[in-house]
Symmetry: C2
Subunit: 209 residues, 2 copies
């Protein structure tokens, strides 16, 4: 079992990433050893260190191979919205949580991000990607809120920045709590209603000032 073909190599690489993803999301990043990852992938630790520099690089590759909902959200917004901006915001937010509930890979990564790793220093690639992606997306949606204000759908006294941060926090919190105990409530059903309530609250005259 040596010097397999190039496709074989990519397959073992993928198996390693799959194994790491499953183990990390289940047992936590630091609680998972390279040995366990190798075993689950059906190879030895040597294979890991051939494909990845170290654990950090393994995680980096793990996160890099999947398009996270927040990235997809940005793309869809960038594609142009001729719609009502408020409707756009609602739809994007609902799709966001829908992907978390229905895409098992996204769910695993979200679980790692929110519950199975420690956010330490700034160098941490996990934290880095999470925060930077979030901040950029916040700016995008802030613009949508502003155009809703200009369009007259929201009061001109509304602070768009506050509105976005509230929305993001709501979505994050929903996912956070759902992942903590998925059997406790249905994410999409409850989440959609909570998002509607929040957006509705924004449209109320004088709700924010």
């Amino acid at each position: 079992m040596v010097r397999r073909t190039k496709e074989d190599a990519m397959e073992t690489r993928a198996k390693l990433l799959d194994a790491a993803e499953a183990l990390f999301s289940e047992n936590g990043v630091t609680q998972t050893s390279m040995m366990q990852v190798a075993e689950k992938a059906g190879v030895t630790r040597g294979a890991i260190y051939h494909h990845f520099e170290n654990k950090m690089n393994l995680i980096e590759s793990l996160m890099g191979r999947v398009k996270l909902p927040i990235d997809e959200m940005r793309e869809q917004i960038a594609e142009g919205c001729e719609f009502d901006p408020l409707v756009e915001i609602k739809e994007r937010s609902k799709e966001f949580i829908s992907r978390v509930q229905n895409d098992s890979q996204v769910r695993s990564l979200a679980s790692i991000l929110l519950h199975k790793c420690e956010y330490i220093d700034e160098v941490n690639p996990i934290k880095l990607r999470h925060v930077s992606g979030r901040n950029e997306c916040i700016c995008d949606i802030e613009k949508l809120f502003q155009s809703a204000v200009e369009k007259g759908d929201l009061s001109s006294t509304l602070n768009a920045r506050i509105a976005v941060i509230g929305l993001f926090s709501l979505v994050d919190g929903l996912i956070y709590n759902w992942l903590l105990a998925p059997e406790y409530f249905p994410l999409v059903e409850y989440g959609n209603q909570a998002i509607d309530s929040y957006i509705n609250g924004l449209t109320r005259e004088g709700s924010l000032f």
Copy 2:
């Protein structure tokens, strides 16, 4: 430096807890060794293992000595609210985030809970306390929502359970994101407005059904 008095012992115990709290909330639970905790407290590891069984027990004691906002929330609610239940809900929620922002010890523990530990198995006392405290509080506030419905402040079509979970998610999300980058937005100011929006959205006719 041996066989200090009983008060001295309690002081070193407190120093150990303080050191652990600071280190855990800054560098993460698994990234902090007993050695570091002992050094920061000005003692040796022997002192730790005299006062605590192991790291898990140290964390347990850490969490146990502080009354978390969620516990205080429940107490205040239990004390009886002759007010408007909706106002009560808003006020408690706002006090919740206010404590996180202003009480440095609470802030540290919240940081550990949300960002600096891995939520692994059910045995984990951190997760246990977090989840059970949350679930009980959710029930308390659900009742408040129901009395708001009975009082006529909320539509009878409103699902109280969904309303609570949305509120909790919003609050959790606000704290989660604020702790991730506190300089990014002022927690209390933005949080209060987001909470108002959400509750306002609930009071809107037909917002939830």
